[in-house]
Symmetry: C2
Subunit: 205 residues, 2 copies
DNA sequence: CCCCTATGTTTACATTGTAAACATAGGGTT
DNA sequence: AACCCTATGTTTACAATGTAAACATAGGGG
């Protein structure tokens, strides 16, 4: 059991988590490019080799960050959807907004998650985490199709369109490749809603 | 005018282009992470500082690669569309297939183009290049809507859906986050066509 | 009480980006 | 033709980085 407050001690107590958190901060400041293991160590207040007791690699640390990102994103989506019970349309829209918002507000993490910068190594939990978002959408859509408020199409196909278009919107926004006005949060929101409605009704209302 | 064959000479003759080409190869082999200026120089057969006479930065070289990528992609899209004159539906489908194919077959370049790894610096031509793909799609869609073969919706909205969903599909494929079967090229093609039909007709036929 | 192991630290080294000082070649001016 | 100017390369130098190896320490189980 790690000691309560082990600051200044020889043994940090909970270095692994401290490193992940520190890595998040460093990533935020310096971006994926400028991200350095040594700086993470410095931020965590340990020597530059200490991280190697907890992560095989620089890549392994980034991978942990990535994993955490997927979990956060999944949570955000589910939370947003749960705010609108029994209303699949609103659920899908809110989930979509949450998805794009997460991306825009955590651009570096998002790049890390979806950019493919970190090689997916052998033991990755990739299937689990990447499928999460898709399955959340699929659940919502299934409900919508069953209760008849969505157009009557195979849920897998609707989910594919939803997943790809939301992801695309998010990535373009993160990359700064959407029209300038889309930098405005409300404009972006409207884009998301328009795309979501396309999924739901098949037309952009 | 650069000499014909200036191999082994003190002055390379056309180093700038040689560097860009070499950078492409290095990027392919080592990926965005392992990409090193010094290795590019080695591949081009010059000293490790020579690139600095042609590019301010490592980032500047990557930026040039990125730029070239955008041009290639734009060309691929236009070529694919031009193969089906007077048939907007086929045009959109072929353009979409070309888009995703380019991404899947040039994953590293694609990451470079859309990953945001390279900071978009002041003097970037970003507007031009990023808008290219979108405008190509928009042109096709405009034609389709006008001639009545597409659903009657504002072309901008259809283009938005097309652009985002194709981009999303491409990025997910590159990141290896689609279902396993999507690694099969034909399966991926079918996905693209399904998504394109959704844009055209509003339903997944 | 002792030592074993998990966790840190120090030292060392190769690689990298980049700057500064130096070299050369090849063309325009006289 | 001689000259030198500048564009283009090269060498040298340095600081930052990833990572391995050898060393240190603390805290718990025999």
């Amino acid at each position: 059991m790690p000691p309560e407050h082990a600051v200044g001690r020889y043994h940090h107590g909970d270095l692994r988590n401290a490193l992940i958190e520190g890595a998040g901060r460093v990533l935020l400041e310096k971006g994926t490019c400028g991200f350095s293991l040594r700086e993470v160590a410095k931020v965590a207040g340990v020597s530059h080799a200490a991280p190697y007791r907890h992560f095989r690699d620089k890549a392994a640390l980034l991978q942990a960050l990535r994993q955490a990102g997927f979990e956060q994103l999944g949570l955000a989506i589910r939370t947003a959807a749960d705010g609108k019970p029994h209303n699949p349309e609103q659920k899908l829209i809110e989930a979509s907004v949450a998805y794009v918002h997460f991306a825009v507000q955590n651009p570096e993490i998002t790049r890390l998650m979806f950019g493919g910068t970190v090689e997916l190594q052998e033991n990755d939990v990739r299937p689990d985490v990447s499928v999460t978002a898709y399955e959340s959408l699929l659940d919502i859509i299934q409900e919508g199709v069953e209760q008849g408020s969505f157009r009557q199409r195979p849920p897998q196909e609707l989910a594919l369109v939803a997943w790809t278009s939301m992801h695309g919107l998010a990535m373009l926004a993160v990359a700064g490749l959407l029209a300038v006005e889309a930098n405005d949060e409300r404009v972006l929101d409207e884009l998301v809603r328009a795309v979501a409605r396309n999924v739901i009704y098949g037309i952009v209302k």
